[in-house]
């Protein structure tokens, strides 16, 4: 299984269409391998981005330098996935 240790999901809040365009630019930067869980659509809708740990600082700087507000929606994606896996294992044992 691919792991996502240290990956975060950031929730960005674009104030206007110009900031939405900046987020679309980020989406187009394929080398960063960011994964848009909810893509840029309109200013009142948050944009959720899974950011690999390796480029986390780079993406945060990018957002900040473009004055785009963001919060951390998921601190560590792998922690949630580990919990999910553990829950599945427990349920499987209970079923048996």
């Amino acid at each position: 299984q691919k792991t996502f240790v240290g990956d975060q999901v950031l929730r960005a809040h674009a104030k206007d269409n110009a900031q939405l365009d900046v987020l679309r630019e980020l989406e187009a930067m394929k080398h960063l391998q960011v994964d848009f869980w909810r893509g840029p659509s309109r200013p009142n809708l948050p944009v959720d981005i899974r950011v690999p740990n390796a480029v986390l600082q780079q993406v945060k700087v990018f957002l900040e330098s473009n004055s785009i507000d963001y919060s951390i929606m998921i601190e560590d994606v792998q922690e949630l996935l580990d919990q999910e896996h553990q829950d599945i294992q427990s349920a499987t044992l209970r079923e048996r």
């Binding site: 929730r11 909810r38 959720d48 899974r50 929606m73 994606v77 919990q83 999910e84 829950d87 079923e95």
Partner: protein
């Protein structure tokens, strides 16, 4: 199916085995239709709930985007609910006495298997794209409704890659083929996550659908029914106005092919866990979604066309 845990996530093998059990348990009501094969050769199954005869049908699909695990889990719970409610719940019994329900639980089998084996975050199909090292097509941008427009991507490496041509994906073509051959599908309910939204045509144009008012009113009633159980709030409206422009989607294709009641559900949540919704939320999500599905199905039954 009684010892099966509905409050956890299952592999495709477990779900397919569970389907076998459901068929044995409800042989007079439930049958399995093999509608095709995935790119990697997995069978694609739809469950048909029917009391006999050739009735108009309601189509429900879950799991077209493989990482949206809450949807396949909701599909499993819903199948059991339909089967076990016939003859017990008068509303559902009345629906099944007048309509068939066809439910495809694992609409993207290769993607779903891949989320369990290799990459939990995989969304697309697993088809190889000629001339690219990137794999997969977004199966909800691959339908022949505004295909290839700006609400999708022509880049095979994009999560919204529309594919080489409409219905290029066997997972999509199988559904198209089945629905067109059936010829009497009255509703298409396509289940996704996340965002808590109820969307209807169109996604590829700002034009309003001819049935816009009725679709809006029914969406309002459906969202209210859903909220009545656990208070979960949904927003609703056309895809393009509510979320974003999306070209080549299943429900737009369905609507353009005469299926008036075409809705996309975006299940829980609104962004605490996203695609990694804890398993403890499976049953509450399925329960509230059931009320929404029942609202649409009752409306379809009461408004023949």
């Amino acid at each position: 199916t009684g010892s099966f845990s509905y409050s956890t996530y299952h592999t495709i093998e477990e779900i397919y085995s569970w389907i076998d059990g459901l068929l044995l348990e409800y042989p007079k009501l439930v049958s399995r239709i093999d509608i095709g094969q995935s790119y990697e050769g997995r069978p694609i199954y739809a469950l048909k709930f029917s009391t006999g005869g050739n009735k108009p049908a309601i189509w429900i699909d879950t799991g077209i985007h493989s990482r949206e695990w809450i949807t396949q889990a909701t599909g499993v719970w819903t199948a059991k609910k339909i089967a076990s409610s016939y003859g017990v719940d008068s509303s559902l019994t009345d629906i099944l006495d007048n309509l068939d329900i066809i439910l495809e639980i694992v609409t993207n089998p290769d993607g779903y298997a891949y989320t369990h084996s290799t990459n939990r975050m995989w969304r697309k199909t697993r088809s190889i794209n000629a001339g690219s090292t990137c794999v997969g097509v977004d199966p909800n941008r691959n339908w022949n409704a505004g295909f290839g427009g700006p609400g999708s991507s022509s880049n095979p490496c994009s999560e919204t890659y529309h594919g080489a041509h409409p219905h290029s994906e066997p997972e999509v073509y199988s559904v198209v083929d089945f629905i067109l051959a059936h010829g009497n599908v009255k509703a298409m309910l396509s289940i996704h996550s996340y965002s808590q939204m109820l969307l209807f045509p169109y996604g590829y144009t700002n034009d309003l659908a001819p049935d816009h008012e009725e679709l809006t009113e029914l969406a309002k009633q459906t969202a209210n029914a859903l909220a009545s159980l656990h208070g979960t709030q949904y927003t609703y409206g056309t895809t393009i106005a509510t979320i974003y422009r999306a070209d080549g989607t299943a429900t737009d294709w369905a609507y353009n092919n005469g299926i008036k009641y075409s809705y996309t559900f975006e299940l829980r949540d609104t962004g605490r866990y996203g695609f990694i919704l804890p398993a403890e939320q499976i049953i509450p999500t399925a329960e509230e979604t059931w009320l929404a599905l029942m609202t649409v199905m009752e409306h379809v039954k009461n408004h023949p066309y």
